[in-house]
Symmetry: C2
Subunit: 206 residues, 2 copies
């Protein structure tokens, strides 16, 4: 795609480096910005630079935060001895949005995936293992995605801490609320039968 202007071309090329944004979309976005008031572009540029320069990783749980210790970890009302292990900050947000979980998180920053060249040393596994070994944790809840990589990561962490006294659990897999049995894949349906829960228990929580 030949552009009529070098300045435009530079902006389009930089924009097209973002994932899922091709040259045509990048051009559409840049042309949109040109039509908007100049402040919008300025605010966007400043916000992006600010986020890249000033956003911190919480030194305790590794989630993104404005401060050294994130608002969840520094909240005295949260149960510091229950830790939910997640891949990514987006999982933290998803779980926070449920309003159900009152413990802390531990963000690994990914899953063990040899095919992508990601080994345990690139993830925040050591700090998690240390928390368990220092007996700071009562329960560890694994909430990684149920893929081969997720299971491998769970198992790797399990092997590191199996000597320690800590309750381990994983989030329940099953048929989503509102979904119909006939359209559910066999693995999920099989698991949800295998891990069936007492009926009284299911009533109580509804």
């Amino acid at each position: 795609m030949e552009l009529s202007s070098k300045i435009l071309e530079k902006a389009v090329n930089e924009m097209a480096l973002l994932p899922g944004i091709g040259k045509r979309t990048a051009l559409r976005l840049v042309l949109h910005l040109i039509k908007q008031p100049a402040e919008q572009t300025q605010f966007l540029a400043e916000a992006l630079q600010n986020v890249r320069q000033n956003l911190k990783f919480c030194t305790n749980c590794n989630t993104l935060s404005d401060y050294e210790i994130c608002e969840i970890c520094s909240n005295p009302k949260r149960d510091k001895r229950t830790i939910c292990v997640v891949e990514d900050i987006r999982d933290v947000m998803a779980i926070e949005n449920t309003g159900i979980f009152k413990g802390l998180y531990h963000v690994l920053g990914g899953k063990i995936s040899p095919i992508d060249g990601i080994g345990p040393s690139q993830l925040n596994i050591n700090s998690l293992v240390n928390k368990v070994k220092n007996e700071e944790v009562d329960e560890l809840i694994f909430a990684l995605s149920s893929t081969m990589e997720g299971d491998t990561t769970n198992f790797y962490i399990y092997k590191q801490i199996q000597q320690n006294e800590v309750k381990l659990s994983t989030i329940a897999r099953g048929i989503a609320i509102g979904d119909e049995l006939e359209y559910t894949d066999e693995v999920t349906l099989g698991r949800s039968l295998m891990h069936r829960i007492p009926f009284e228990h299911s009533i109580k929580n509804n």
Copy 2:
């Protein structure tokens, strides 16, 4: 969507102002930038500000350009008396990429569309009409999209200049090269029959 950081939230909100980018996509893009070297964010922010501040509209044809007069208009090899009327800078790029057209362009900046509140005064129609009235033009080629709005715009311009001696043409509509007859819509097929061209002519240009 509740985010764990105000800085992050600001960047996501600014990003989500772009067309076709929702909050989730915006978050994905910002998280991607955080994982990349800081220079990438800086280059993107600078390129966007640069494009917004320094990109000019060519004073002759209204296309986007680094200079007051764009490279097409200032090119002595281009035929200055043949002008192709287009909606948008993207149309200029599309036609330039064919390498067929050697005249100049005139970018209207949109189409007359009462439903969107766009009237003739918001488009660069007057400067085009003046070019014709000052007898600077031999041929005007209409290359607007063949919609109700495109046809209205064509007709509006035609009414303004019909007293002047200028050759008017529109780009050919028909079945795209490689398309099959049976899958073509009736209007296009009908038009391509109506505007059939002499066989010898079609051979000469292949």
